[in-house]
């Protein structure tokens, strides 16, 4: 170890210790909680799988987890489908500062305010219904906009899209425009150039954006509570309620780790699907490219 590395170690200590204490230790504690039992008003250390078993056996848990997976997949797919053209446009067509700043503004605008905005837009007396009524498209306000999985998905897409766009932009900015031009010169169509040049090279970033959106959406509990109604509830809300109302923390911890497991499975499936369709190149091809970068 060089003296410089030793100084580095000392300088790294405060942040590393902080994150160890307030991120790693709590996560491990939460994991052990999932094997403890809650009896009466006390939580007793134990090593049982009761929480996991009762979570999986609960029809409510299965229903909201199914909801969370569907809403998560739909939101993450729509988010990716919108962030790819925007990212592409910002990277290769026009490096528009204004568009970039507008996206940053939405990213940093208040989380609660955005949920509230969608509630007012989609509600029975909301703007969407007001416009539809005035245009004579519908006769009575449509109730189904708000308090549905649709409302949850459209709000969550709005919340996580800016971040996904920024991830896609940073992934695409590493691919040289000349590569795309070369492929176009060789006769590929615009879409072909995207699938054969951009997608494989930006695969890591695109999958990152998809998975991050999925994980954050599946764990979001405020949006389902505000705009989801009873049909748009997700696992996040169920877990949050264990820690806020019901008070069965070990069960909540088990549900949280089951959701984590679901995310891992989805990740594996997305990777497999990408490899199968050829959108993600095999590992050995990407490695040297990253070393150079």
């Amino acid at each position: 170890m060089t003296p410089s590395q030793r100084t580095g170690g000392i300088l790294a200590a405060p942040a590393a210790t902080y994150m160890l204490l307030f991120f790693v230790v709590p996560a491990i504690l939460l994991f052990s909680y999932s094997f403890w039992i809650s009896s009466g008003f006390r939580i007793v250390p134990d090593f049982v799988l009761t929480n996991y078993i009762s979570a999986i056996r609960s029809p409510l848990f299965l229903r909201v987890t199914y909801n969370a997976i569907v809403i998560g997949l739909v939101t993450a797919s729509v988010t990716l489908c919108l962030s790819i053209p925007v990212g592409y446009y910002l990277t290769y067509v026009a490096r528009s500062k204004i568009i970039f700043y507008l996206i940053l503004v939405t990213w940093f605008s208040s989380y609660l305010v955005r949920i509230y905005a969608w509630r007012t837009l989609l509600g029975t007396n909301g703007l969407l219904n007001a416009v539809l009524l005035q245009l004579g498209i519908v006769d009575t306000p449509v109730q189904a906009f708000l308090f549905s999985p649709f409302a949850v998905a459209i709000t969550l897409t709005h919340i996580y899209l800016p971040f996904a766009i920024l991830m896609v932009v940073s992934a695409m900015s590493e691919i040289k425009a000349e590569l795309i031009e070369a492929s176009r010169d060789l006769g590929t169509s615009a879409l072909g150039a995207f699938f054969r040049v951009v997608a494989p090279n930006a695969a890591q970033g695109l999958i990152g954006a998809f998975m991050l959106t999925f994980i954050l959406v599946a764990g979001d509990y405020v949006t389902p509570q505000m705009v989801g109604g009873s049909s748009g509830q997700t696992t996040g809300l169920l877990i949050a309620d264990q820690f806020r109302k019901t008070g069965n923390w070990p069960l909540g911890a088990a549900q949280a780790f089951l959701m984590f497991l679901v995310s891992l499975v989805i990740y594996a499936l997305v990777l497999a699907l990408g490899r199968l369709t050829g959108l993600i190149p095999a590992r050995r091809k990407t490695k040297p490219a990253r070393e150079v970068a």
């Binding site: 200590a13 405060p14 942040a15 925007v86 208040s110 909301g126 505000m226 949050a240 949280a256």
Partner: protein, 263 residues
């Protein structure tokens, strides 16, 4: 190409319309959400000042955000300097510890900190809120710094030492001016992040009420246009803070560069 442009602008409209609607209706003279708006007034803004609890929540949020920004800046500066000096292994350990939380839902971080506090018997307070906000803002700082530090030329530090500057002198004259702009804009961004944070806060706040938590309780109680005016102010505040952050970052970097060019 036209299609691409259309998709981009439609996406932008989708992102911006909800925010514009909130701002527009905060000036609505009437209580309802009817369109077109019949008259404009500032009555919902006047109501803000009649609510003392709102003021208290605002002050609390400002205090928490300031504390978060300071702690993040201190930890982040040390970690950035460390990142420059560490080898490949040290860097990955530091990155795994300091970046992973960004890929986890706030719910997960919130409940795990709640469990920790309960296990240690710590009372939930402003302190636990600050602790949780720092866990969220350090990853953001590390991501921004890593991109900046990848361009950092360590030979500049070596040259300064070779020319006889002390370690502290080198830090003050070379290292700090180079990384300061990014650090300061990160500190301002962590202020904005903390000011707006709700999900984690709701688990570790105990009986404390921050501004987002107060807005949340308003949202659950009633549908009042007061929420529109408070939201608009919160929105403008976040945008202003963010704009300052970017401006400081750019200005500092530009002045540092021109200084180096002239000397």
């Amino acid at each position: 190409m036209m299609l691409l442009k259309a998709v981009v602008y439609a996406t932008l409209a989708y992102l911006l319309i909800p925010l514009v609607v909130i701002i527009l209706f905060s000036f609505n003279a009437e209580q309802s959400f009817s369109f077109p708006i019949n008259g404009y007034s500032l009555r919902w803004y006047a109501l803000i000042f009649e609510d003392p609890q709102l003021g208290q929540a605002l002050v609390k949020s400002l205090m928490i955000a300031t504390a978060t920004a300071i702690v993040t800046l201190v930890l982040g500066t040390a970690a950035s300097l460390a990142w420059l000096r560490l080898g490949r292994f040290g860097r990955s350990v530091l990155e795994i510890l300091c970046i992973t939380p960004i890929a986890l839902p706030g719910l997960f971080l919130g409940v795990s900190l709640l469990v920790l506090a309960a296990q240690l018997g710590v009372r939930l307070s402003t302190v636990t809120i600050v602790v949780s906000h720092v866990v969220l803002s350090v990853p953001m700082l590390m991501i921004a710094m890593r991109a900046r530090l990848a361009l950092f030329d360590r030979t500049l530090e070596e040259a300064s030492r070779d020319l006889g500057a002390s370690q502290i002198g080198t830090f003050k004259r070379i290292t700090l001016p180079l990384i300061a702009p990014t650090l300061i804009s990160c500190a301002i961004l962590s202020f904005a992040l903390s000011f707006d944070e709700f999900v984690v806060t709701s688990f570790v706040a105990g009986t404390e009420t921050t501004l987002p938590m107060y807005i949340w309780s308003m949202m659950r109680r009633t549908v009042t246009p007061l929420i529109n005016s408070v939201s608009t102010l919160a929105l403008l505040f976040s945008i202003a803070v963010m704009a300052i952050g970017f401006f400081v970052g750019r200005f500092k970097r530009a002045s540092a560069l021109s200084e180096r060019a002239s000397s």
